[in-house]
């Protein structure tokens, strides 16, 4: 943030302070570096293998015979996979739009009202679903739909995805709003802006990075969801993760690897965008 204005210390001082700092910094232990390396390998090795074998020529996934992009061609030509991918994108897009609007409204209400009864509880309840085991949410959602007899095909999925992505959309929006000076809105009103104008011209532009980040996160969460989609989706509305799972039952082929790699690439790019947007500015 603020620029360093102090002049560099004299060389001998610099050396001594560097040595002292080393003694105190856990991050400079050799062993720790190795450990971090091991964790990273553990995390990414399986994914690397998956990505590499998606370029395998052989139809047996674990038997490398040569480089080929054929399986990508196959995957893209696979009708069922394309339908599932399209379903995933439709569900994620609709759920993201709704979840983001709801999360933004909730964050605004919680920021505006300085105090109301149960405010802390409300904030806690907004984030709690993140901690609820997904299988519990999945079963609850299933029971909910079947009890009420709601059978909207993709609509069911969209509703379910909207609900569980709200907390993910909510977090970055709320964080952004907390860092915002609430007197800015008062200033806009003072300068003859109606409540709507002050929202559109001041609050919304300042909140936009948080909203974008929240939307991105909600989209990724929806795109990657498996358990809830498996429970809620009926025959015609399979999403991509559910489709991949059903393919695995017939053995792992490089085609699955190719599809998974593409899904992985989509998630990674969205997360990267999210990360870029949610970085503190300047």
């Amino acid at each position: 943030m603020s620029a360093e204005t102090t002049s560099p210390p004299a060389p001998h001082l610099a050396k001594r302070s560097a040595r002292r700092r080393r003694a105190f910094q856990l991050g400079e232990f050799r062993g720790l570096t190795l450990w971090v390396g091991a964790v990273l390998v553990f995390l990414y090795f399986p994914i690397c293998v998956l990505v590499i074998y998606s370029f395998n020529e052989s139809r047996f996934a674990m038997n490398w015979t040569g480089f080929s992009t054929d399986w990508y061609g196959r995957a893209l030509a696979n009708r069922a996979a394309r339908t599932a991918a399209l379903n995933s994108v439709i569900v994620a897009t609709c759920a993201t739009a709704m979840a983001t609007v709801i999360a933004t409204a909730a964050a605004l209400v919680l920021a505006r009202r300085n105090q109301f009864r149960g405010k802390t509880a409300a904030i806690g309840l907004m984030s709690l679903p993140i901690l609820v085991p997904e299988i519990v949410t999945a079963i609850a959602t299933l029971i909910f739909f079947s009890t009420l007899g709601i059978r909207l095909g993709l609509g069911n999925l969209i509703i379910a995805h909207t609900v569980f992505s709200i907390p993910f959309a909510f977090m970055p929006i709320r964080a952004r709003l907390q860092g915002m000076d609430m007197s800015l809105e008062a200033a806009a009103r003072d300068l003859y802006a109606t409540p709507w104008q002050s929202f559109r011209l001041v609050t919304l532009p300042l909140l936009a990075p948080g909203i974008m980040a929240g939307a991105m996160l909600a989209f990724v969460i929806s795109l990657d969801d498996f358990i809830i989609s498996l429970m809620v989706a009926d025959a015609g509305s399979t999403t991509l993760p559910v489709y991949i799972f059903s393919m695995i039952r017939f053995g792992i082929t490089p085609e699955i690897n190719a599809i998974s790699t593409m899904l992985f690439a989509a998630s990674v790019s969205l997360v990267t965008v999210y990360w870029l947007l949610s970085r503190p500015r300047r």
């Binding site: 000076d181 008062a186 806009a188 009103r189 300068l191 003859y192 802006a193 104008q197």
Partner: protein
């Protein structure tokens, strides 16, 4: 409160702003807090008016009621004769300079200044010239394209002023606008604000808890404490004719002496100080014979004499050298303390030694009986 007195003339022009019995209660039920207990206040057009009081006394509350950010609990506020209770902030011809400026961080300096004019749908050409004029007024024309984040505190302050003045409000509200600036800048801005007020002819309502700021800039001041207006008057009124104990104590340094009223004749009362000495002081309303009262006298109005007749006997117990003047602490016979301010002009008689027996007299008319 008893009758509040406003010792300046009462001209007949309607006041720019008038508060009548304004009550503001925050919250409800057990958490309810009364921030204003029935404030009455008239602010004249074209006046530099200051609300002065310690932290939590209700100054900001009064401003926010005027700007429309808070709703009155009871009472009325009139702006140039019109009741404004039901007007939202954007329909009040009032602009605010916020304490931390509240500049829009995503807009440039020029766009900030243009914000109000655009909402008022002024023609583009007019907006452009008005923005340029305002930026010139606060000497910021060279930074028109900067973002607020790239400005110093003093520069942000100027932009906030230009932004609030641009739509030509009838009243400008300033909530401790100088408190975030360093001492040098604060003093320069005092003169700057006075100049702006004179040049624009806009009524300024200025909030501060700094008495020097209030005394040096204002046409008139209202002193607030705990949600009540204690006194309204010119800086001279407040300093020389404080109305009650709070005002005498809050503004400047003062000596507070206990006394009993012996006789009252018109505007004057004869008092016996607790040390037994009889003095004459300006009366306060509702003070009758026999009353036990507090009297205020400023340190510069206490004059050191020899221990001769007609003076109050005292002993020097302490000295503080302040450069231009010194403060001497005296103990009276009844052990009460009096502070005396003495000029350190060259050739002035030396201060007596600590422990010396001296006499003091009070400058004529300098003793004021205070209401509790």
């Amino acid at each position: 409160m008893l009758d509040r007195h406003d010792e300046q003339g009462h001209d007949n022009a309607p006041p720019a702003i008038s508060f009548r019995d304004v009550v503001k209660i925050y919250g409800a039920g057990a958490a309810a807090f009364t921030a204003l207990h029935g404030a009455d206040l008239d602010i004249r057009d074209n006046e530099f008016f200051t609300l002065l009081g310690p932290s939590g006394s209700g100054k900001t509350t009064l401003l926010r009621l005027l700007a429309g950010f808070e709703v009155l609990t009871s009472g009325t506020i009139h702006l140039f004769g019109a009741e404004i209770r039901d007007l939202p902030p954007e329909r009040r011809p009032v602009n605010t300079v916020f304490q931390h400026y509240a500049l829009f961080p995503h807009l440039s300096v020029a766009e900030n200044v243009a914000f109000g004019l655009k909402r008022l749908r002024r023609p583009a050409a007019e907006i452009r010239s008005r923005v340029a004029e305002m930026l010139a007024l606060v000497h910021m024309e060279h930074l028109a394209d900067r973002q607020p984040g790239q400005l110093s505190g003093g520069q942000q302050q100027r932009v906030a002023l230009a932004r609030a003045l641009a739509p030509e409000p009838k009243v400008l509200l300033l909530d401790e606008p100088l408190s975030a600036l360093d001492l040098k800048l604060r003093q320069a801005m005092r003169e700057e604000l006075q100049r702006l007020q004179r040049e624009t002819g806009i009524t300024f309502v200025f909030v501060t808890h700094d008495q020097d700021e209030a005394l040096s800039m204002s046409d008139r001041i209202a002193v607030l404490s705990e949600g009540r207006i204690q006194q309204i008057g010119t800086p001279d009124d407040l300093y020389n004719r404080p109305y009650n104990r709070f005002v005498a104590d809050f503004i400047g340094d003062t000596n507070l002496l206990e006394a009993r009223v012996l006789r009252r004749s018109g505007d004057e009362v004869n008092l016996r100080l607790s040390g037994g000495v009889e003095v004459t002081a300006a009366a306060a309303p509702g003070i009758g014979e026999g009353a036990q009262v507090t009297v205020s006298v400023r340190p510069e109005n206490v004059v050191l004499t020899g221990a001769e007749a007609g003076s109050v006997r005292a002993r020097l117990v302490g000295k503080t050298f302040l450069g231009a003047s010194s403060l001497l602490t005296l103990a009276l016979d009844d052990a009460s303390r009096v502070t005396v301010r003495r000029d350190n002009r060259m050739g002035h008689p030396e201060d007596p030694e600590t422990g010396a027996e001296v006499g003091i007299v009070f400058a004529p008319g300098s003793l004021r009986v205070l209401l509790p």
